[in-house]
């Protein structure tokens, strides 16, 4: 389990950034007249694409897999979730970004808990 504040903070900032970018861009693109399944797939793909350069930039400072795996999950989940919401209700870019940040924090917590369970000697 990571205990160094520099990396914990780095993970948090990276995921919040990835979530905000995916959420904001998706909310700006998807409108209420989009069919929900199409919007969700589009949001996920958009989140993934937007997330890649941010992942590369953040990995320079905070690590490789420890940064890329949660950020990829955050980007995709935030894109998909914000797209679903935007296809049902008018969602501004700022609101999409806030949703994305919340999803980023949730995904990071999920990854930290998974890491605590999976790391150590293989069973």
């Amino acid at each position: 389990m990571e205990t160094r504040p520099y990396f914990i903070l780095g993970d948090l900032i990276s995921n919040m950034l990835a979530g905000a970018a995916a959420g904001c861009a998706t909310a700006a693109l998807i409108t209420v007249n989009w069919p929900m399944p199409v919007s969700m797939v589009t949001g996920m793909a958009l989140g993934m694409l937007l997330g890649m350069p941010i992942q590369i930039a953040c990995s320079l400072f905070f690590g490789a897999f420890e940064v890329m795996i949660p950020m990829m999950l955050t980007s995709m989940t935030a894109g998909m979730a914000v797209a679903m919401r935007a296809s049902m209700h008018e969602t501004a870019g700022g609101a999409g970004a806030v949703w994305g940040v919340c999803i980023g924090v949730f995904v990071l917590c999920f990854t930290y808990i998974s890491n605590a369970v999976l790391s150590g000697d293989a069973r």
């Binding site: 990995s59 897999f65 795996i69 990829m72 990854t111 000697d121 293989a122």
Partner: protein, 200 residues
């Protein structure tokens, strides 16, 4: 992928390799790597040395032979090898065709190597050939994950990753067994993706 193609890929990656890896990834893994390399003893084979970022973690006064397929990577590794307090020889060599006699080394070490060797089982069989009976293999590797959603993420990353660098979905522990080694210990360092493997 042929050896020439692998050499070309890593020669191409050599220029930016330290920029992308020397700060974040190496600093993140440094406590694990320090511990991992601490058990070096006897005549040691290290593959693949790359630009030599791992040399900082080698304990002093060891007898190490390090190889890499890329001459550009080795060029960058040379100053680090010269600064090492011990014996450290660099050779340009393909992990799948090791130019060493049978039973030459007491130990073999790898660090993020078998994500990139085109035929990993062949490379591991070569390692088994050059390590003395009773000698051991220590690997610091990243592999695929068995768990959703991490396995899905790695499968999505792999088509891009393999073009510019390593594969991220390999079953390296399985490959070690296929090559005839007995796996003694697998320790997961991050999820079940980044791990150390001890085999003999």
């Amino acid at each position: 992928m042929s050896a020439a193609e692998v050499r070309k890929k890593w020669d191409g990656a050599a220029r930016g390799f330290d920029f992308f890896n020397s700060h974040g990834p190496e600093k993140r893994w440094s406590p694990h790597k320090q511990e991992f390399f601490a058990s070096m003893r006897g005549k040691v084979l290290f593959l693949a040395v790359g630009t030599g970022l791992d040399i900082q973690f080698f304990p002093n006064h060891q007898d190490i032979t390090a190889i890499d397929i890329s001459p550009r990577m080795l060029e960058k590794a040379r100053p680090r090898a010269e600064a090492y307090d011990g014996r450290l020889d660099l050779h340009e060599m393909d992990a799948q065709h090791l130019d060493f006699a049978d039973d030459t080394f007491d130990q073999a070490y790898t660090s993020c190597t078998f994500c990139s060797v085109p035929d990993p089982v062949k490379g591991l069989r070569e390692l088994r050939r050059v390590v003395k009976p009773g000698g051991d293999l220590h690997m610091f590797e990243h592999t695929g994950s068995r768990w959703f959603p991490f396995n899905a993420v790695l499968h999505m990353m792999n088509p891009i990753s393999r073009k510019v660098g390593p594969e991220v979905i390999r079953d390296t522990v399985g490959n070690v067994r296929k090559a005839g080694f007995t796996v003694m210990r697998v320790r997961h360092l991050y999820l079940d993706v980044v791990k150390t493997i001890e085999a003999s």
